[in-house]
Symmetry: C4
């Protein structure tokens, strides 16, 4: 009897995860604002304050973009199994490091801080890719022409994304400001031209 | 097939954004309370504590009023597209700066702190106005008599709201306490006489 | 046309408020735990740590009890209007001061801290009473026998609750520990014998 | 009439608790990340940073696993009464101590910190067991063959789980690192081989 009750847990689990992800992402996106160091009465400190606000906004829209990508996956995913659950929690874990790394960047924008942000960004993107892949597999099966087509695209995107991110982490060690500009640009490009999403 | 699945995303995205906004606004409204500096055993410190509580309450009802305005928009908006998504996230970003600016005001109620609060309040209101406009356009189309009527009202409200806010930021530099009283009064007036909302 | 769209906002607003209250109360109940001061390696500091944990748990179950009372109100309330909205936000504002007052009590359990906690507890209870009253009025109308019956009960409960709370705030100034024990006992009594709720 | 309105509160209360638990667990899982101490420019401090991240991730997946177990209980529980409400809030209270104990472990990974983590983990597990038991009783009644079968299994699991946890708290005093590895392993084992769940 209990087996029966558990049998159709897939769609329920998916809906529950969707709600939970919303709450977690809402906290991630909001909680980092209180870590912005307040200015005192000097002009220099106000400039540092504005720079910290800018870093906060970059992180804010980075997370907002991930929320939108996540929305798109959940909108078409029919059910969640344990494998998807695991990928989803790994994604949330990597995402929840962003407020910490943002705090670090706001307090001491060193090469190491930018590189760590880049590394986390890489991990989050790889986990997103796994989730999108899993969703495509649920929708189109593991074989067939549609599947082969998606696998082809996916492979090149993973490799391309991976190399771009590794290159940016390298840039972070030499020119942290340039790397920061790229990290700002990437979510904007991904939002305006959503070419690497489920389509 | 995937295109089909994505086709009706507008209403879904709107519902999802509604839930997400709730979570973000709930965090914004609650998280700033822990930044109130605790009193020690002197009478003076208790008075400062009470002033900080008052500033917290002003921010609380400011955010509460924005929640209610947002509720009204979402209650009539039929669907969300990428443009609305972007306006909504910009609105949330500006709103999530309020706890930080409230913390600043509680710790050092300087002219600069009040002026920054005023500037953020202006930005939030302008973004709200854009969202209301977008909603009206979704409901009444881009042309026609009803549209022209709304555009007429909207134009004067935007200009009026903008000038009032700029004036208040000016006041903040000369008489921060007077400006604070106005910022307390504005959400109350807007709540009791909701004349500048969708009607 | 817009008037039509807004006409049936009462039930929608009630459902929306219900979701929002949940999120705010969840943050209130959780956020104060990080304010518990950590022990160092002495035995005395571990005793202080345990006392702070106890104070956290008292606040936790106080808030949990308010959540349950709120659930009961929302379960029977048919719709929300602006008056209820205002009472609800005033209730949330008073409730969101609890984490701050709990932090104060954990760091310096002085007479003043206990008295402030008691004062906030009084305000929250009075606002709850107003919300319950409003709900009864929505269900049974403003006149009639059932209404008179409820008014009779309500009047005595408000007076009784008010006097008890004032007395406890007095006790807090003389014997803070005794007052604390009463504040622990009140939510337990109210949970086990829910005599002063909508019935 | 009011009695009528309250009569069918069981399923409603269960759904409401489900939503509330989600929000509380989302805050618990996210809020502890900001307590990770940031590195300065030495190699040693970066190693400490990485260790703190690891401790954060252990806590993250511990809480994630409890979320999943909670999901499974709520997926089959038909209604919630006051007894379940009380168990659920006690569970949330014990769970919400985890961010504090994680913060302690990240800042000073002493024997006492590991032992306290273990004690809280034991309490959370016992409360989970009570909730699962309550759910089985709701589904299969208090007597009969199915019930006797579950009671038999449950009794041994409670005793086994209790002894294992007591042993681990003992280990924490002698070899905190070894105990930590076990606390990492337990949620993984419980996730991959969910033998001690409702089945």
């Amino acid at each position: 009897k209990l087996k029966e009750l558990h049998q159709d847990d897939g769609p329920k689990l998916k809906d529950h995860l969707d709600v939970f992800d919303d709450a977690v992402i809402a906290i991630i996106i909001t909680v980092m604002v209180l870590e912005v160091p307040l200015p005192n009465n000097t002009v220099g400190s106000y400039r540092l304050f504005m720079r910290a606000i800018l870093i906060f906004l970059i992180s804010f829209f980075m997370v907002a973009n991930f929320w939108y990508e996540n929305h798109q996956t959940f909108a078409i995913l029919p059910r969640a199994d344990k494998k998807f659950l695991l990928m989803n929690f790994a994604f949330l874990a990597a995402l929840s490091l962003l407020p910490l790394l943002t705090k670090w960047l706001m307090q001491q924008p060193t090469n190491l801080a930018v590189a760590n942000m880049g590394l986390d960004y890489l991990v989050i993107n790889m986990l997103r890719r796994l989730m999108v892949n899993h969703t495509n597999r649920e929708l189109f099966g593991k074989t067939g022409a549609a599947r082969a087509f998606f696998d082809q695209i996916t492979r090149w995107r993973i490799i391309g994304g991976f190399l771009l991110n590794i290159a940016l982490i390298g840039v972070a060690f030499i020119q942290p400001t340039v790397a920061m500009i790229f990290y700002l640009a990437l979510p904007i490009i991904s939002f305006v031209f959503p070419s690497d999403r489920v389509k």
